[in-house]
Structures are given as C-alpha cells and as structure tokens.
C-alpha cells in the first residue's frame, strides 16, 4: 500500500478541468507536478491539504497511509505544507513557531527538548528567542521546514518552496528539504515550474497544461 494515493482526483474551475490525476506516492518518494503558472497545479496541494476554495469543484479520493482523508477537515489531515515564502508567524519567536507545531500529545519538558533538537539539526542552535524577521532567507526556510516536521506530518506538500531563493541558496535548501523528507520517510508532493526541482526530487513527474 502506497503512503499517499490520488484515486481519480479531478479538479475543475468554472467548468474547466485543471487536472485529472491517478497516482501513488511511496513513503520517502516525491511526486512532482510541473506546469506553468495558472495551470492550477497548486490546487492539487490545496485539495490534499483540505483548504481548496469553494470556487473549485473537486472529486476523487485522497488516501493517506490507507485512510481516506478526502472528507477530513484540514487540521485533522496532518499534511505539512511549505509555500514560496517561509511564512513564519511574525508575532512569535523562532522557538515559539516551533513549539506551536509540536503535537499536543507531547507534554512538559519533552516539548522544549524537541524544539532544541530541531534547531540543532537545522544548525540554528541558540535561535529559539530570536525574532523571525531577523533571520536570513536560508535560515527562515530551514526553520519553516523544521516547523513542518515537528508536527509529525503524514505527508509533505511543497508549493514551489525554492522559487524565491537566490540560486546559490536554492540548491542548499533544496537538498536539505529532500534529505529530510527521505529521512522521515514522508510521501512528498512537489509543485514547481523549475526543471531543476524535478530533477533533484528524482521521482515521478506529471506535466500539466
């Protein structure tokens, strides 16, 4: 059984079909959706994450680890998402952003412990009390990834997360993200218009539009 299954997923906007997908994504593997902007590729991530706008018509099932999550609300799907921007919550410290993600079942000192481990892993020790606004682009991207991973997601959704980084940083962040996805054995869906992203992801590629 694949970790993430799209069973006849079809998304349309104003009667126009944007995508029609049948795909299995194994744990630790990446499915890449390629397409120009306006092709509706991000709508697949919104449908997977449970936050597709009411203007879209969508059908078909999404199975996560064998469970049909199509009807579940977004917050019960545990699909971590990274957007083009790191979108760290600006009113919280770096540590505050991370501890917000730690599941509520984990209690007490263990919560802080997880945050400290994540920061150490991202090579950002002593950053817990920092204002996210003072971080560099690469640092923000790493904190954003750590925040997603701390929530113990069942799948990882990437919405062109490297497109706004400058080229030197892009390779670095990209390999960090894919290495982590593999290490955590997450099925990953990547939406991009950059061939290099697809190559780095190294999995199945579906081209739209």
């Amino acid at each position: 059984m694949s970790a993430l299954i799209y069973d006849g997923v079809r998304i349309a906007l104003n009667g126009r079909t944007l995508l029609d997908i049948q795909a299995n994504v194994e744990a630790g593997q990446t499915l890449t959706i390629m397409g120009p902007s306006g092709s509706g590729k991000s709508s697949l991530l919104a449908y997977t994450g449970g936050f597709l706008g009411p203007a879209f018509e969508a059908s078909g099932a999404i199975l996560l680890n064998g469970q049909d999550v199509t009807q579940l609300p977004a917050y019960r799907r545990h699909t971590g998402i990274l957007f083009q921007d790191p979108l760290l919550f600006p009113h919280m410290s770096v540590g505050g952003n991370l501890i917000f993600a730690v599941p509520q079942s984990i209690r007490g000192a263990e919560r802080d412990e997880r945050v400290a481990q994540a920061l150490a892993h991202a090579e950002l020790p002593d950053f817990a009390d920092r204002d996210p606004a003072t971080l560099s682009g690469g640092q923000k991207a790493r904190v954003a990834l750590m925040r997603v991973l701390l929530a113990e997601p069942k799948a990882l959704l990437l919405d062109e997360p490297f497109s706004k980084l400058d080229s030197g940083l892009r390779d670095q962040v990209r390999s960090f993200v894919f290495a982590e996805a593999k290490r955590q054995n997450l099925p990953t869906v990547l939406v991009t218009h950059d061939e290099a992203d697809a190559e780095a992801a190294g999995g199945q590629v579906i081209a739209l539009g």
């Binding site: 009411p54 609300p73 917050y75 799907r77 545990h78 699909t79 979108l87 917000f100």
Partner: protein
C-alpha cells in the same frame, strides 16, 4: 456558536431599525395605548403640518443634507483627483485621519469658538483690521440659512469621505490608469475622473448616502451651530419627544416619519443628480475633453482640504484654551491668565457622565468587535462572503435617520420596562458602533494572508487554536484600531443617548450639548475637551498595546 454570528449581527443591524420604524408608525397614526390613544387617524400628520414654520424647518434640513454632502464630496473628489500618489497626499492623509475620531459636537463647538463674532478669528483681526474693540454685531452663528451649521458638518464629513475613498483606491489601479490617460494627453484630474472615479464612486456610494442621511437629520451640530427660528426638523422633533406634554409624542411620531420621508427624498434627489453628473461626464468623455490645464484647480482643492482640517484643529485648540482660561476679554488673542478653576468647579459633576460614557462605550465596543470578528472568522473558514447585500445591512442604521427609529425604540423600551436603563443605552450604541467596527475591520482582516491558516491547519492546529494563537494576534493592531473607531463613535452619540437615556443617563456628549444654550465658554471647553480626549486615549491605547506586546517583532510593525 460561530454559525449564529451573521444572523445575530444582521438582527442587531436590521431589528432595531425595522422595529423602531414600526414602533414610530403605529403612534404616528394615533394608536398609543399607554397614553390612552386608540383612535386611528391622520390628525397627527395634520398637526405636524400646522406647526408654524415647519416647512421652513424641513427645507432647512433638506438643503443642509444636500449642500453638506455635495461640498464635502466635491472637495474630496478634487483633492483625490489632483493629488493621489503624491507625497502631499500621504501627508494630508496623516493630517486628517485623527479628525475622524473627533465627535461632531466637539468639532462644532470648536468651529463656533473660532467663527463667532467674539470668536478667535475676530480676536486675531481686532482691532488692527476691523478697527473695533467690540465684537461686531453680526449673526454668524445660527444664521437663518444654516451656513455655519453646514460648515461644521462639511469639515467633519471631509475626513470621513476621504478615508472611505482611500479604502476604495487600491481596487481601482488608479496610478496605472492615470499614466495611460496622461500619455493620451488628459490632465491629471480629468484622467482620474474618466478612468478611476466611476469605480471608486460605486464603492463609496453607501457612505455618501450615510452622509446625506446624517446631515439631513443631525441634532447636536444643529443645536450648536444651526438656526433656532426655526430649527431644523430633527431638532424640533427631539424637543417634542422630550416634552413633558406626553400628547406631543404622537405628533413627534408623525414627525419622525416625515423626517424619514425627507431623508429619502434627499437621497432620491441625490440619485437624480448622480444621473445628471454621469451624463455630463459621458459627454465630456465622448468629446475627448483633455482638460489638461488643471493646476489652478489642484491648488484650490489642496487649499480647501487644508482649510477644512485646520478649522477643526484650530477649533479644538481654542476649546482647550477656554477650559483653562482666566480673565479673557475681547479682543485679546489669549487669556490674561490661566487657571484650573473651571476644571475644579466642573469636576464634581463630571464623574457620573464620564463613567456612563466610558462603560457604555466599552460594552458596545466589546460586543461589536466580538461580533465582527465572529462574522469575519466564519467567512474565512467557509470561504463565503455576504456579498454586496451584506454591505447594505451594515449601512442600514447609518442610512435611516436616527430620529426616525430611535424614538420608536424608546417607546418600546418604555413598554418592556427597560426605559432609561444602562442596558438599553449600551444596546442602542451597539447598533451604531457595529457598522463602523465592521467596516474598519473587514479590509485588513480579508487582506490577511490565508496561507498562514493553511500552515497552522497543516500543523494540526484546530480552527479555534489557529484563530486565538495565529490570526487574532497577527491582526491585533487592526482589531484594536477598529475598536478605537467604535469607541469614538459611541462617545460621539448624542441623539440616541438623549432619547434612550430620557435625560437620566447623562454622558459627556449630552452634557456638552446641553451647555450650548448657556454659552459659558469655559465649561463648554471642559466638556468638549473631554469629548475629544476620550477617543484620542482610545486610539493611543490601540497603537501602544500592540507596539508594546510585539516590541521585539520587527515584522509586526508592518504586517497588516
């Protein structure tokens, strides 16, 4: 709970208006059992008609509404057309924004202290220019045509209409259209008129109607600056409503309906004028009129806007000076000495009005903000907005004249034994505070990057946790700013407070207006000063609280 919020909000906006009009309608036709009146007739309308000078009062109300709105909108249009996108525009925006929070009555007193025959302008001109050491014998205040009353309303409506227009600007891509029109040889102002104004006007139209409704039925400004022989229709109705002779209430009810008809007539005339204006614009467009030499008009527009702002600021400063003035004879520009005597004399009687003012405002603002947040949060979760129909509901209490439905509410509260209670007062304030809170909050709330919520949901945070931990803290600044607007609106309410409180729930505003006829400038200065200082404290707190909470969060200064 959240799902009930829109219905509750609509109930609060629509219910009192509908119910209030109904409760005015029935006694207007002679049926008011509590006064022993059961006979259904139209004689009370005949009584209104037979009142001496009533036609003159009605015409005064009508002309005040139309002239005020036309002049204020014209100034705002010319200013925005001539100056949008310039540094001067931005400076004026910062200069005029605080004026929105100044209660109408305080601004009117300020203007009165400025332009009266013995006012500050005459003092500054005397004796060197006027050649006189005595106040001239001129009827400037309370002139029979209502010109000073119109001026008092115009200077207050200009900041309002300007801020409403500013909110509509981003959707109209004004800069780009202006460049294209400019490249075709159109003037800055004509380019704006032809390309951007129609879309902007569509968006601010309800606000313009609200100004018409307000100016045709205003009571406090009319008492302070308006003529008394005769007064405007709304002022006379208010006198009847508060008259010890209870039989006059039936006549007042009929009059309240006449006022409603009058305001609707003013709006109908305005719509006819809109239609003519549109034809003129289309004709100019078709003939390709470039109207490129608009420098003089731009200058005039800027001068008019600055003058309107300065008049209010100068008036407020004069009020403050009067409140601490010692001996001050004409034509001295400043008092000979300053003293806190007036304050210490007024202080013992300020306590109760002040606490009623603040507790009523806080209760109304808290309820309004909670309701607006609930409606907007539900909208964000479901992705469904109320559309343009919802906007009509929001504006309804602002477009129906207060005097036409609050009196009915007073009769209603009387019947259920809640008359002149704090609860009834806070509820009626809520009706007028809610629209402003909702309108102030909805734009920043909707502009918030929804991806933050998607991220929080993806992290497993429930919608409630996302609201309390992410969305509300990130939008704390606009939420508090909207509350401050609501607070200022509540402080400024005159008529609803007088009618619902039935004289037993004095606020700073009702006390200030009550002092108008006495003419003791020092005491008026104290109350009017408090009137403007309370909203200012609200805005200061709304700015300082988020600044303090997020002092170490750089992006919170700019975000939303």
């Amino acid at each position: 709970m959240l799902r009930l919020a829109p219905a509750l909000a609509i109930g609060i906006l629509l219910g009192p208006v509908a119910f209030g009009i109904l409760a005015t309608l029935i006694p207007a036709f002679g049926y008011l059992p509590s006064l022993g009146a059961f006979e259904v007739s139209t004689r009370y309308f005949a009584e209104v008609w037979a009142t001496p000078g009533i036609v003159q009062s009605a015409l005064l109300s009508l002309s005040t509404g139309l002239v005020t709105t036309a002049v204020a909108l014209l100034v705002v249009f010319l200013f925005v057309a001539g100056w949008h996108g310039t540094p001067a525009f931005l400076r004026m925006q910062h200069f005029l924004s605080p004026l929105l929070s100044v209660p109408h009555a305080a601004a009117a007193f300020g203007l009165a202290f400025l332009i009266a025959p013995s006012g500050q302008i005459m003092r500054l001109l005397s004796p060197w220019a006027t050649g006189s050491t005595r106040p001239p014998d001129l009827l400037i205040l309370q002139d029979p045509l209502g010109l000073s009353m119109m001026a008092g309303l115009i200077v207050k409506e200009i900041p309002f209409l300007l801020l409403v227009t500013l909110a509509a600007l981003p959707q109209a891509s004004v800069a780009r259209s202006g460049q294209i029109a400019g490249a075709l040889g159109y003037g800055r102002m004509s380019g704006f008129l032809f390309t951007s104004w129609p879309a902007i006007y569509r968006q601010i139209r309800l606000a313009v109607f609200a100004v018409i409704a307000y100016a045709t039925s205003v009571v406090d400004v009319a008492i302070i600056l308006g003529p008394s022989t005769p007064s405007t229709l709304a002022v006379r109705l208010t006198q009847w409503m508060n008259d010890p002779d209870l039989a006059l209430r039936l006549t007042a009810s009929a009059g309240a309906l006449v006022q409603l008809g009058l305001t609707l007539l003013a709006i109908a005339l305005w719509i006819a004028a809109e239609w003519i204006g549109r034809l003129v614009r289309l004709s100019l467009e078709r003939r390709g009129k470039r109207l490129a030499r608009d420098q003089w008009l731009r200058g005039t527009a800027l001068a008019a806007t600055v003058l309107a702002g300065l008049a209010v600021f100068a008036g407020l400063a004069i009020l403050a000076i009067w409140s601490v003035a010692g001996f001050w004879s004409f034509p001295d520009a400043l008092p000979r000495n300053f003293t806190l005597d007036t304050w210490s004399r007024a202080l013992p009687s300020i306590g109760r009005p002040l606490s009623i003012t603040i507790t009523t405002a806080l209760a109304a603002v808290f309820a309004a903000t909670a309701l607006a947040l609930a409606c907007l949060e539900l909208e964000a979760r479901t992705g469904r907005t109320g559309g343009s129909r919802a906007l009509w509901f929001v504006y309804l209490p602002l477009i129906v004249p207060q005097v036409s439905f609050v009196f009915g509410l007073q009769l209603f509260f009387l019947n259920i034994g809640l008359d002149a209670t704090w609860l009834a007062l806070a509820f009626v304030h809520l009706v007028f505070v809610l629209p402003y809170v909702f309108l102030s909050l909805s734009d920043p709330w909707r502009a918030w990057d929804q991806r933050y919520a998607s991220i929080a949901y993806g992290l497993g945070a429930t919608p409630n946790r996302t609201f309390w931990r992410v969305r509300l803290p990130m939008l704390l600044k606009p939420a508090l700013a909207a509350s401050a607007v609501g607070f200022a609106v509540s402080i400024g309410q005159y008529l609803p407070t007088v009618l619902i409180g039935a004289g037993r729930l004095p606020t700073i505003t009702t006390e200030a207006v009550a002092l108008a006829s006495g003419g003791d400038r020092r005491v008026i200065g104290v109350y009017a000063f408090l009137q403007m200082v309370l909203p200012f404290i609200g805005f200061a707190l709304a700015t300082m609280i988020p600044a303090f909470l997020f002092r170490n969060r750089r992006d919170m200064g700019t975000a939303a």
